[in-house]
């Protein structure tokens, strides 16, 4: 009870007890940071191969990684109470922008995802929602008794569904899945009954034919069909899967050696720098290389979940845990699609793929996780 009371009266700056370590004082978890840095460095090594001599691209990525680290540090400094307070506004602003983007957004590669503020910058509101949605659900649930009741589960799902739907119609299925996954993760961590979870899974399976018929677009259906039979359209939709599995499979146990991958160097592998970069890992560094990367990822998840469980509030735990699980969904969807067990959706490999937006969001997410753990006394 006292804790609850305290939570409602957060005291900014009233930090840490006397026993806090140096790392707690700068609100950074050194173990997680070390693991993240391991993945980042691994990613830069692979990227140096995937850019195929284009040093400008590599330098650009290094700069973005720098910005992402800054985002991590800054996010870690902000106290959980502030996140709690801003969670609903962040969500509402994000939702508003998502709706706005459908009307005034800029279309890139056939999908309307970007808001352009002329002369300033361009950004994707959907990226913001990867953090805002789990925060909003956690904000909603932390006031309720957990595990959540049917009613609260329903409202939580509504909070998730609105932005997920808005992103899905952009269309950006990959981000939509990640956003929905982030929100659902909160529910799972909040103790949603296993029975309901199983029931929901059964329901989705039963509704699959309807989804197929009425929700999925032609190109999305095509991608799913291609997954089962890539050779049906070897030069079109099947090309990516054929070439990425060929790249990974041809790498064997130890790989062809860094910079030696014929699939990526000879341009057979599409999107080798971005979404399909794990195929470069598989081809050049082999099973050993991917296993090493997966191990780092698993350690990050383990450490992240541990930190989440050590957070000082339900809100903190739920947000931190959900961000960790989102990170997992990211990497799972990406590797599964590149290795040909999920349809191709646009999800980058976290911290490795070339590109700034997702790296910054992910690192900010890790900053938030650290914040939830290191700001103890609230």
């Amino acid at each position: 009870m006292t804790q609850d009371f305290q939570r409602r009266l957060p005291s900014y700056g009233a930090s840490a007890g006397t026993n806090t370590s140096w790392s707690d004082r700068i609100h950074v978890d050194p173990i997680l940071l070390l693991l993240i840095t391991g993945v980042v460095l691994f990613g830069l090594v692979i990227l140096s191969s995937a850019v195929d001599g284009n040093e400008a691209l590599f330098d650009a990525q290094v700069r973005r990684i720098g910005v992402a680290y800054a985002a991590l540090i800054i996010a870690a400094q902000l106290p959980p109470a502030m996140y709690l307070r801003w969670a609903p506004f962040l969500y509402l602003v994000g939702l508003g922008l998502l709706i706005l983007v459908l009307f005034v957004g800029i279309e890139v590669k056939g999908s309307q995802r970007w808001i352009d503020i002329p002369g300033l910058f361009r950004f994707q509101p959907s990226e913001l929602m990867k953090i805002a949605v789990p925060m909003a659900v956690a904000w909603y649930l932390q006031q309720r008794v957990l595990p959540p009741s049917i009613k609260h589960t329903f409202f939580s799902l509504l909070i998730i569904a609105l932005p997920a739907f808005a992103i899905g119609v952009e269309p950006d299925l990959g981000t939509s899945i990640l956003v929905a996954g982030a929100g659902v993760s909160v529910l799972l961590l909040a103790g949603l009954s296993w029975r309901w979870i199983l029931g929901a899974l059964t329901l989705v399976a039963a509704a699959a034919p309807l989804l197929w018929q009425f929700v999925l677009r032609d190109y999305q259906r095509q991608r799913i069909l291609t997954l089962f039979d890539p050779q049906s359209d070897p030069l079109g939709a099947g090309w990516n899967i054929i070439q990425s599995t060929t790249a990974i499979g041809s790498g064997g146990i130890f790989g062809k050696g860094l910079y030696q991958g014929s699939q990526s160097y000879l341009d057979f592998l599409p999107e080798a720098r971005t979404d399909f970069i794990v195929a470069v890992v598989g081809e050049e560094l082999g099973f050993v290389g991917i296993a090493f990367l997966l191990t780092l990822y698993l350690l990050i998840i383990a450490r992240g979940l541990y930190l989440a469980s050590q957070a000082g509030s339900t809100f903190g735990r739920l947000v931190a845990g959900a961000l960790v699980l989102t990170f997992f969904i990211y990497l799972f969807v990406n590797i599964a699609m590149v290795s040909g067990i999920l349809p191709v959706v646009g999800v980058p490999l976290p911290l490795v793929s070339y590109g700034g937006t997702s790296a910054i969001t992910l690192m900010a997410g890790f900053g938030i996780i650290m914040s939830m753990r290191t700001h103890k006394a609230w």
Partner: protein, 629 residues
């Protein structure tokens, strides 16, 4: 406060979170297991499949077409060589927007809408996926440069270079050298397809066809690494192509040019042989065609003009034109009479200007009948019968000879068969035997047939090359040589196996040959004796000759022409005119050239064909003298 708040228990929530985190972590680990299982399948279990798939992706075998052997004339001048030609090819799969690409190409190369139409037609033809379609050939240097400069705009476009055949002499030597044509599916059935996998052309006529195997060379291959767009990044392995053999022909291109010039605009054929070897020094068939057109391509109307012209420019008259030899056959008949003993050099007959077979009414006239009404050439021996070209003498001689032995004798000169070493397409001509006549015409052999044969008419047919062979055999005093195109090659050639030399003409001694050659010298050189005393050709070519030559004129009746309805009256009369022949050799004591000239529908042999022959021999001997000094 609501009920729920009252039972909210932070401690329990934290425990529950821990439980959930652990449970979900287990799920995460299981799903990692799924990924690892997939990777194990791809990278360990099925590694070899994907390895070979990656290799297939990356490596391709390309064939390397051998460059075709060169053809030189006896003086080392080029008759057929190879030049680089650039083509524009498109791989439609490699471009995102074919229309935009075509638009760019049209703009860069400033092409016409007709070009664009042709490009589209080429692209519409069925083909292998990912293969390059050649859409424009024979690009200019400037066009190649423009394409190189704009390469960034032209994804899916390739500029390829290949060696194509080039005939520097063009029309002048088309029938002598032959030509290559674009390789067709039908061709691939007759050759080893692998050898031609990189080739676009195949020898189709003449020397190019006969020596195809040696000229073509052997195909090579290279294993290359290509990128996803099919561009070669590096060469992994090379097995070079083996260049085709260079060939040197007996042909003398200067004499060839002189021969074409001597014939001028007239239709006809010339074959000049070196009597010592049988080597073909010149081979002309007019009208001719430009063999380069068959390499670089021509418009349909140009081809139609060539193929359907009534003057048959694609027809090689020199070896395939079969004509009655007319009086040029008389030396053979005369020698046959001597060898069989039916006549002697001293024997004379009375030429009254006409001939009748005993008991028959038909009158066979002498050619001079129309010129001089007085009729007849008077007393004629074989020598005079040759230089005056007395028909009556040869009517009489042939009618007295046994037909079988006459034909057998004639056959020794290569008549009625193709004796050429490396011109398999040459026609055999026709020595009409009684057996042949029964089969072909279902008629018996009449004595009149023998009479006609005596002056080289009737069903007798010979090609200019065969008559040149006859001239060479007389020049050689009976040694018969086989016409032959090839003089030498870098290494020995497969195409020509061992070919027996032809036996010399039997039944005559050296004196007989000299007497016949004297008679033929008289044809050219005997002059200033009045109409009945002069050689038939003296008036036309016999003056101011710096050497001694022997010759025989012929004026062959066009026995039959197809009464094609499409010929108008003027053309009909043109095609009805007599063929002019002249066979000759020189210098008589040591002949280095023997030739036959035929001018189709040209008229008199002495007046029309003989000057052509003289001009050619002049050119040959002048050149020969020039090359000696």
């Amino acid at each position: 406060m609501s009920l729920e708040l009252s039972i909210k228990d932070p401690g329990r929530e934290q425990d529950m979170f821990a439980d959930r985190a652990i449970a979900l972590f287990v799920v995460v680990v299981l799903m990692f297991g799924v990924l690892v299982a997939r990777l194990v399948t791809l990278q360990i279990v099925e590694h070899e499949t994907y390895q070979s798939r990656a290799d297939d992706n990356r490596t391709k075998i390309q064939t390397l077409a051998p460059s075709r052997g060169m053809i030189y004339d006896r003086n080392g001048r080029i008759l057929a060589d190879n030049k680089t030609s650039f083509s524009l090819a498109i791989v439609p799969e490699r471009t995102d927007d074919l229309d935009a690409l075509l638009h760019s190409i049209v703009e860069i190369l400033t092409l016409t809408p007709q070009h664009l139409g042709r490009i589209r037609n080429a692209l519409d033809k069925p083909r292998r996926p990912d293969s390059a379609v050649v859409v424009l050939e024979a690009l200019s240097e400037k066009q190649v440069a423009m394409l190189a400069v704009n390469r960034h705009r032209l994804r899916g476009v390739e500029v390829t270079s290949q060696l194509i055949r080039s005939y520097p002499m063009g029309e002048l030597a088309a029938h002598a050298v032959g030509s290559v044509r674009r390789l067709t599916k039908e061709d691939l059935r007759t050759v080893e397809p692998v050898q031609y996998s990189g080739s676009q052309f195949i020898g189709k006529r003449g020397v190019e066809a006969f020596y195809e195997k040696s000229l073509h060379g052997k195909v090579g291959y290279q294993k290359v690494e290509t990128d996803a767009y099919g561009r070669v990044r590096r060469v992994l392995e090379v097995q070079g192509a083996q260049t085709g053999q260079n060939l040197t022909l007996h042909l003398d291109s200067r004499l060839q040019v002189a021969s074409v010039a001597a014939l001028g605009e007239r239709r006809g054929a010339i074959v000049a042989l070196d009597p010592r070897t049988g080597g073909v020094l010149a081979m002309v068939s007019q009208p001719s065609y430009d063999p380069n057109l068959f390499v670089t391509g021509m418009s349909i109307s140009t081809f139609d003009d060539l193929a359907s012209s009534i003057y048959l420019p694609l027809f090689n008259r020199a070896v395939n034109g079969q004509y009655a030899p007319g009086s040029t056959f008389k030396p053979v008949v005369g020698l046959a009479g001597i060898s069989s003993g039916v006549t002697q050099w001293s024997e004379t007959i009375e030429d009254k200007g006409w001939f009748q077979l005993p008991g028959q009414e038909r009158v066979y006239r002498d050619w001079s009948w129309t010129k001089d009404d007085s009729g007849g050439q008077g007393q004629v021996d074989l020598n005079r019968a040759i230089y005056r070209s007395s028909n009556v003498y040869f009517y009489d001689l042939a009618s007295r000879m046994e037909i079988g032995s006459l034909l057998e004798f004639a056959s020794q000169f290569g008549l009625g068969r193709n004796v050429a070493v490396d011109i398999p397409e040459a026609s055999t001509g026709l020595l009409p035997t009684p057996e042949w006549k029964r089969k072909a015409k279902n008629q018996p052999w009449y004595p009149g047939d023998s009479v006609n044969l005596g002056i080289g008419q009737g069903d007798l047919l010979a090609t200019p090359m065969q008559m040149a062979t006859v001239a060479a055999a007389i020049a050689n005093r009976g040694k018969v040589v086989r016409p032959k195109m090839l003089l030498s090659s870098d290494v020995s050639i497969d195409e020509v196996g061992t070919i027996d030399e032809l036996p010399s003409v039997l039944g005559l001694d050296g004196e007989d040959w000299e007497l016949m050659i004297d008679a033929m010298e008289n044809v050219v050189h005997r002059g200033g004796q009045g109409f009945r005393g002069n050689g038939t050709a003296w008036a036309y070519i016999g003056q101011q000759v710096g050497y001694r030559m022997a010759g025989k004129s012929g004026t062959a009746q066009v026995v039959e022409i197809t009464q094609g309805e499409e010929y108008d009256e003027e053309q009909l009369s043109e095609f009805r005119r007599k063929h002019a022949w002249f066979i000759a050799f020189a210098p008589v004591d040591d002949p280095t050239i023997a030739l036959a000239v035929l001018v189709e529908n040209g008229g008199g042999g002495s007046s029309v064909a003989a000057p052509v022959a003289r001009a050619i021999i002049d050119a040959h001997l002048t050149e020969e003298l020039a090359s000696i000094h």
